[in-house]
Amino acid sequence: MKKIITTLAASVLATTIATSSIAADRYPERDITNVVVWSAGGGTDVVNRMISAEMAKSLDVNINVTNRPGGVAGSLGMSYVKRQKADGYTLVGLSESVVGSAVQGGWDQKMSVWYPFIVGGSPDLISVSADSKYTTLQELIADVKKNPRSIKASAGGAGSIHHLNLLALMNGTGAEFNYIPYPGSAPAQTAVMTGEVELVITSLAEQQQLIKGGKLKPLAMLVADDQALDGFGTIPSAFKAFPELQKYLPIMQAIGLAVSQDVPDNVKAKLTKAFQSAMGSPVIHKWAKDNFYVLSGLSGAEASKEFAFLESLFSWTLNDLGAAKVSPSTLGIPKLSELK
């Protein structure tokens, strides 16, 4: 009797393994769902809708994009996807801002639970109001060095990617600005236009209309490359005047999608192939150009490395700002120095 049960159990087990590996081979057999952790219409949502549509072409099934915003830094959507079966039929659409979720008490997982694909992001830049006396970053930095904290700066919310860029700029140049926190990028940019603060750091995608409309004057890109902007000219990279910045920057947005690290390897491979062919599509390239996004195309281990970097940077900065509820060391998030 015992033997029969063992045999039965073994055969059941074998069939399960067999079917699951066959299922993975046949992947995808049905529609895939992409759960975006931010609300509809945001940058992450728009990027995910496009890349999903392109990936669907080569996977030959639909990828339905839904939104599940809420919780702390996207924790609701991430925990939902993590609870689903790790079969590759549920993807999560995310961005760099979710990496702070764990230290802020949103959930108790590290970013290493994901197998990510990074589409790209819009580079950050520093701008002043159109009637400001400053025309170059050097003038601004020289002035604030004479009088530390005399110049007020805004950069989205405290602990946001733009705030991290401001902190990196201060570390790399030795300048000390008086940081004024705003609830988001739009109010931060408005504050420069109303004259409440002197400078703002947000992304090019968020500023381009205001620059072209003559409301903001860009001083420098916080990435290695100069940026051409129709109707304005070329915005120089801050790295030329301050080579020291290369140690701290760039800190780029990483918008993309991910599957659970537990999904079978051949499913990961199929998704990677679909992702890479989608990244080559003219639709994505045109959109990126029109909206001032820089494409990345990293996936798997390389993308994980990028997310580990962002996770360490965000988590420890939030910890220093007093915004962390859970210490990064409890979660096992290494410091940036330990990471390298």
Binding site: N67, N178, T194, E196, V197, L210
Partner: protein, 505 residues
């Protein structure tokens, strides 16, 4: 672009939209759902626009805008239904409407109140659109005069004015209720430095109190308890009243309508605040300029017209900074910004250059939406008045269920249900002691803005209070605030009396 060309674009957009039956169906449908959204406690214009955004992904831009703006306009109007009929405002924007709408309904003139609301909302929306078209750059420039200092004073003003207007006996009770609301709004991590305030280590309190459960609890629960206690129905319907526009009443109120629209547009244009306080400010203005202010709060049509014109005029106002600067003027407009981005439109100063017809197209769509709202309203008002005939024993459980659903629907968080009940019971006792409830809710809504703006203003000025008396708009706001407080102080009344008695002798 000259005016003639604008008109031809406007006309052709209207025609092309109207010629498509799908568009017409979507227009009427979105407007209808908007009204329902506004009317159900807990479902707000902001939530409605957010939910609909995802559904519009496959549509072309104009159709999507018809759906979204139709819902927005409908929802701002729909909030007035429960305000008038059962004294439970469906949205905070409609709270001022309840002051005179509900007494009218109790007198048996619910139909008339709804009719006035419908037409006033239409006029308000249209006037808002008019200003959007002709004076957008000017108004946008005005909106840029508001810095953290002004935002703080504006929030304070909003709380004070609702306190002043709603107190049944002593004005100070309204202000006390407002202060309680302000106090409640400080719960949670402070947005500037993340310090946890009054959270008692409860994770649910970390993000602060959600407005919707507070709104529903504070307005809904006391009303249900009172009706149960008195064993009476919520309203009566002696006569149906006239739903169709009363041109005579409206004509008499032409100054009121013009003033309320201007207030609504102005408040809508200031980024971050909108419909929620526009109704209060215009109601206050109407009461203070009225020849018979004592009738306000007892079923005065002027009051309804003022608040409903203003909150709908806010829509045009809120779209001005959105379309010209990319800054949303009100919470639903912020959702609309997301929807526009989804369709590849980035609103901002370049929109006039990159797609010169866009503003005119939006105007045409808004005009259609307000007409759809009016038609739907005329049809619905007749039907919804009948809820007053439903016996309380059936109606009250339904209202209670709606309150519970509304609190839970947002974020699906069970904590919000407890919050609603606690706030509701607390509000009931406040109500029994003749403390008004509206200032408390307005305090919770505007509190974070007041708190954050004041502290940010002081960060910017490095602790200096001088900007409060150096900036022109600040001076104006402070003068109004001081005036409001002074005129209600017993000391001032005493002075006034003795001053006048000097002349009598």
């Amino acid at each position: 672009m000259d005016i003639l060309a604008s008109f031809s674009v406007f006309g052709s957009t209207l025609l092309s939209l109207l010629s498509s039956p799908t568009n017409l169906m979507i227009l009427m449908g979105a407007s209808f759902f908007g009204i329902i959204f506004g009317a159900l406690p807990g479902l707000t214009a902001t939530l409605g626009v957010a939910l609909l955004t995802t559904l519009t992904y496959g549509m072309d831009v104009n159709t999507a805008l018809i759906a979204l703006l139709g819902l927005y306009v409908g929802a701002i109007y729909g909030g007035s239904y429960p305000s008038i009929l059962i004294n439970i405002p469906g949205t905070a924007a409609a709270a001022a409407t309840a002051l005179d709408g509900f007494p009218l309904a109790q007198k048996g003139e619910g139909g008339r109140a709804l009719g006035l609301t419908t037409t006033a909302s239409l006029i308000g929306t249209l006037l808002g659109i008019l200003v959007l078209v002709i004076a957008a750059p000017l108004v946008a420039q005005m909106a840029l005069q508001f810095t953290s200092f002004e935002f703080f004073l504006l929030a304070l003003f909003g709380i004070l004015i609702s306190g002043t207007l709603t107190s049944p006996d002593l004005v100070i009770k309204g202000w006390i209720a407002g202060l309680i609301g302000l106090g409640l709004s400080t719960i949670g991590r402070d947005p500037l430095q993340f310090f946890p305030r009054f959270t008692f280590d409860m994770p649910d309190l970390d993000q602060g109190l959600e407005v919707v459960p507070v709104l529903i609890g504070a307005f809904g629960i006391p009303q249900v308890i009172k009706a149960l206690r008195n064993r009476e129905s919520l309203g009566v319907m002696k006569q149906f009243g006239r739903i169709l526009p009363e041109w005579k009443t409206l004509f008499k109120n032409r100054m009121n309508i013009a003033r309320s629209s201007m207030i609504g547009i102005g408040i809508g244009a200031v980024p971050g605040i909108g419909e929620d306080i526009a109704g209060w400010v215009s109601y206050g203005a109407a009461k203070n300029t009225s020849k018979h202010p004592e009738t306000f709060g007892k079923g005065e049509p002027q009051g309804i017209i003022a608040s409903e014109t203003a909150n709908n005029a806010c829509i045009g106002g809120a779209l001005i900074p959105l379309l010209t600067l990319g800054i949303p003027g009100s919470p639903p407009a912020a959702m609309l910004l997301g929807a526009l981005m989804l369709h590849g439109i980035t609103p901002g100063p370049m929109i006039v250059v990159e797609s010169p017809n866009f503003l005119i197209e939006v105007t045409a769509i808004l005009v259609l939406c307000s007409i759809a709202m009016w038609l739907n309203g005329m049809f619905l008002a007749k039907q919804v008045v009948k809820v007053l005939q439903i016996p309380a024993s059936i109606f009250l459980p339904v209202v209670t269920l709606m309150c519970i659903l509304g609190s839970y629907a947002l974020g699906l968080n069970i904590f919000n249900l407890y919050l609603m009940v606690i706030v509701g019971v607390f509000a009931y006792f406040l109500d029994e002691m003749k403390y008004p409830i509206s200032p408390l809710v307005i305090g919770v809504i505007l509190g974070p803005m007041a708190d954050e703006s004041l502290r940010r203003a002081l960060m910017v000025s490095e602790g200096d209070l001088m900007p409060f008396i150096e900036r022109p708009i600040c001076i104006a706001l402070i003068s109004i605030i001081v005036l409001i407080v002074m005129t209600k102080a017993p000391f001032y009344q005493q002075c006034k009396k003795s001053f006048f008695s000097l002349f009598k002798k």
